[in-house]
Amino acid sequence: MNRAARRVALALALALGGAACDESLKDIAGPTPDLEPTFSSIQREIFNTTDSSGRQACITCHVAGGPAGFMPLTEGVSYGNLVNRTSPNKLGAVRVIPGDPNNSYLIQKLEGTPGIVGERMPRTSGPFLTEGQISIIRRWIELGANND
């Protein structure tokens, strides 16, 4: 094989080897492409915003004086109402347990896990959060549910 051919082969191998890839968070986030596993992002993209799929913003109901005013999710009060707070509706359930998404009641309500009290959220019978959106919220909890 001549030198030029060797160079083509080497360039091809290096191009492939150097093309390190990663899945895009935007692809996972679906109807909220800017959603990240931080509380400020979840507040902005999930609690405050009705997304492009038609999923209702949480604060449509979860607002002081609203139909779910017992758990406001408006900015400034939402974090304190979620992290390490017990649910009044289910004995022993904690809404967000830092580091433990599976046992966080917020995740169970969003996923519609058997055993939840009341309806899966959002209670408008859908659209619900996508699997990707929920996985990003799960990751925020897994990372310690920081007020970041």
Partner: protein, 278 residues
């Protein structure tokens, strides 16, 4: 990154598809090429999944079909298995592969599996066993899901082979495969790459009959499920090789191989058919 990947795709597509056709017309293959001879120790370009160091003559093509039936062989009792004709009644993951000898010792190809993964690959024979204790080949590939629109997994590795006279060959294949983890890095603490060391053998038990076995353990990095294992029996007939195989997964592209087999002890029947056009 997507732009970069698309450029890489375009380059690969041109190399894998455009260039060979142009070269084929411009440069007729040398009929004296020793690569045209049957290599009885390495009669095919793959074991069940892992590549071998068989050289594809310059300007020639080879085509391969892979079939992995989706029915676990352990499902139900033996009567159920017989009723389903050992799984042949079930759906399958099918792969179609075309490869081309770009120049002496170098081959490129494309492989598409029926769950819409496309893999482009290139392989170059660095050293043959005639001048070195082992045969050495370099492997480079990139596969992408959704018809090469998503989840790109580039791979780079070595194919080390040792022919056992005319009795077959042994293989060790250290290969790095990137982006095997389907989760974005923001959502996981696990590695995004896998480093596999494929180990395999093909033994010639009759003049044209072989048995093959391979395992692709992930020695470091992302390693879901169990390592992909396959074994099979193979018959070479002229330019054809027919292989009946058993695997603990469906993977045939390098990204799929690195992601491993199933972790629930399920085994599946499958076959490979290769046709050399020379």
């Amino acid at each position: 990154m997507k732009h970069f990947v698309r450029h890489t795709l375009l380059t690969l597509a041109l190399v894998a598809l455009g260039t060979p056709l142009a070269w084929a017309q411009a440069q007729p293959a040398d009929e004296e090429d020793p690569d045209l001879e049957v290599n009885v120790s390495q009669p095919d370009f793959t074991l069940a999944e892992l590549p071998t160091n068989l050289r594809l003559p310059k300007g020639k093509f080879a085509f391969r079909v892979t079939h992995r039936f989706a029915r676990p062989l352990g499902e139900g009792d033996f009567t159920d298995l017989l009723e389903d004709f050992f799984g042949f009644d079930s759906g399958a993951q099918i792969g179609l592969e075309l490869r081309y000898g770009l120049f002496r010792g170098a081959q490129v190809g494309i492989n598409r599996t029926s769950e819409r993964t496309i893999q482009f690959f290139g392989q170059y024979d660095l050293r043959s066993q005639q001048s070195f204790p082992v045969g050495l080949g370099v492997w480079a590939s990139m596969d992408g899901t959704n018809n090469f629109r998503d989840s790109y997994s580039p791979a780079l590795g070595l194919i080390v082979s040792r022919e056992l006279g005319r009795w077959g060959a042994l293989y060790a294949e250290p290969i790095w495969v990137n982006n095997t983890n389907p989760e974005p890095s923001e959502l996981t603490d696990e590695d995004n790459s896998s480093f596999i060391v494929g180990l395999g053998a093909r033994l010639r038990i009759r003049p044209t009959v072989y048995v093959t076995a391979e395992v692709s353990p992930r020695v470091t990095g992302y390693a879901p499920g169990d390592a992909l294992i396959s074994f099979g029996v193979e018959k070479r007939v002229g330019g054809h090789a027919f292989q009946l195989n058993f695997s603990n997964g469906f993977g045939t592209t390098m990204g799929q191989i690195a992601r491993g087999g199933t972790s629930n002890d399920d085994w599946y029947i499958g076959f490979n058919i290769t046709r050399k056009f020379y």
